[in-house]
Assembly symmetry: C2
Homo-oligomer: 378 residues x 2
């Protein structure tokens, strides 16, 4: 094909778009933050994604612009749109991924089930919220958080006092997001893709296990989710994609509560860690589907290739920084494991890769994937 | 991983090594014949693969050298080995892929079943061979042939007279390869991979259908091959890989004769068109396995992800040169089809891509793959 897709940001999500771009014959170009990033093989430029001129110049080399992350400022996104560049997802959708208060407000208007929440501008307001919600709350900064950063569980407003001070300092007033601490049985994620022309496609809802606020394991499909749970997750995902005008891949992180409700936790408007299993486990991966979506090409099938897939993140990596030994050991020990490394240096807590195993028996694929990933934790 | 694999040649086989290299975290570099080739995204240099200094300089940037094709001259290969560069497959093995007379001679020593053959240096010798084999023969140039080039079915030696003249002109004496015209039921292919340390792995034997000497369709596994046929193909493939010291992927093209014999037709010491189905249809693709093999890393599992896979080549392409329209139509019509385009301009008979479909029913996957590929034949 002659299509040229430009990705802003050179992290592992951009990297994982490269294989399907190569397979489909799509020319992929990446504007990376610095040299030697994960997506370096497709990097045609290095520059600041907050700089309007840098991004506009990059956009001139491609047919459509999409993203490795959600941090491109609205002003830059609007400048792209004003210049006639197709941007997917566009600024009108991305604002809800960039600002959690706006997201909560909008989802509320749509009647989407969520944890109780409030915008709190003062210590007093937060303490009131905590008192009304059983003595605890989850507090989030509205902007800039990811992978557990900018999220804190508190029992008193004083525990996020510096966040309130930062709000004062930014001079815009502003507020923090307070949410009820949900009594959840497990976390789920619904992955959706939507084309600019409107078509929506979904993968099966998955279960995700977080460690320290970071996705650690994903089971696909979510065990015991057939029927009501899958239907609710699909309905929520479709509604959000359509009503917020999301284009490309949307991930909706969900709580399944102990009282059988499905509540929206977070949104991500890009390929997402909870969808990495699709590279090996689905007929069409989230990365291929994202490319198809942003080019408004027809979707591929989203059925799973095996009854079960498990994805385990490789977090941190070996203390001595050597990935070759663990990789060889993992490949030798687990011949069915699909190993993915992101070209990143090991560092405590850092996502440097993942392992996926697919098969007929959930216990076996979980064991095998964990066994392979464990070689990197020495 | 920190491994760097260098691929000589920038065609579609090098291109298709790039996705698994990215997934595994292997640094892949390509020495391309010219700018803008299929594997351009990984090209770190453009140069003449017959030039010793060019190839040696490229080899200094990588840990192991492998190939997109079998045309690197023995002298250049030996220079690499002499310089201490790991080369896979090595010159001792590659000589049998580069010279069909040597291949026939060596397979004969190993007792591998083959068509009757003879080295013929004169028109008289060839006419004698034709007379002894029912009035026809397949004549092949010993070197330089591929995709049906350098292969001719004849009933009289005069039909390849210019090939004999060329033999005289090259001043080395030399000979053509004459083979009996085998009465075959179908063609099969056995794909094998072998590590330098000795381990061998095999995919299921497949059936291939040729059109005008070019692979057109592949059915995997070969229908009605379980048992004796699969065992014979596996034994032949393993013996050749081991006895010829092949490292990396080896493809053995086979005839299944009407009198139930399995005969070796051709060898290729690289990933092969009859193995493209493994990208989507096998737990480990031939391209990933080739990378693992040349790095002497443990092999991945070679089981199929679905009972049946069919691969259909896209040959030639649309007369108007537009791939975008057919691609969009194919994706819309066949959501389970995996489309692969090689970044090549359409030209009569040229391999510009392929389609793979996997599923439970052979008739359905064949229909679906053919339907998708047909959009490119307008």
């Amino acid at each position: 094909m002659t299509f040229r897709v430009g990705v802003i940001g050179g992290g592992q999500l951009a990297r994982m778009m490269v294989p399907p771009a190569i397979e489909l014959g799509i020319d992929i170009k990446v504007l990376a933050e610095s040299e030697g990033m994960s997506a370096a093989i497709a990097a045609t430029g290095v520059g600041d994604y907050t700089d309007r001129d840098t991004v506009l110049a990059f956009a001139e080399t491609v047919d459509v612009v999409t993203f490795d992350h959600e941090h491109v400022p609205q002003a830059v996104l609007r400048a792209l749109v004003d210049a006639g560049v197709p941007v997917h997802p566009g600024p009108d959708a991305l604002q809800f991924a960039q600002d959690k208060l706006r997201m909560r407000e909008r989802l509320g208007e749509l009647g989407i089930p969520m944890p109780d929440w409030a915008a709190v501008s003062t210590v007093e307001q937060l303490d009131d919220f905590i008192a009304e919600h059983g003595g605890s709350a989850v507090v989030k900064t509205a902007r800039g958080g990811y992978d557990g950063k900018g999220v804190r569980v508190v029992t008193a407003a004083a525990q996020v006092e510096e966040w309130f001070l930062a709000l004062d300092e930014d001079g815009r007033g502003g507020a923090l997001l307070a949410e009820e601490l949900v009594d959840f049985r497990r976390e789920l994620a619904q992955l959706v893709a939507r084309r600019p022309s409107g078509a929506v496609t979904l993968w099966p809802v998955v279960e995700s296990v977080q460690q320290n606020g970071v996705c650690a394991e994903v089971f696909a499909p979510a065990p015991r989710s057939a029927g009501r749970v899958a239907e609710m997750a699909a309905r929520i995902g479709t509604t959000i994609a359509e009503e917020l005008g999301v284009t490309g891949v949307l991930a909706v992180e969900l709580f399944e509560t102990t009282d059988e409700r499905i509540l929206v936790n977070e949104l991500a408007m890009r390929p997402h860690n909870t969808g990495h299993w699709t590279i090996d486990g689905s007929t069409t991966s989230q990365f291929e589907q994202h490319l198809r979506a942003v080019l408004d090409l027809p979707f591929g099938a989203t059925g799973h290739r095996a009854p079960w897939s498990t994805m385990i993140n490789i977090l941190g990596g070996p203390a001595d920084g050597d990935l070759d030994g663990p990789a060889a050991a993992a490949l030798a020990d687990q011949p069915t494991a699909k190993l993915h490394l992101y070209g990143k240096e090991p560092r405590a807590g850092r996502k440097i890769g993942h392992v996926t195993v697919s098969g007929d028996d959930l216990d076996e694929v979980v064991f095998s994937a964990r066994a392979a990933a464990a070689f990197f934790q020495n």
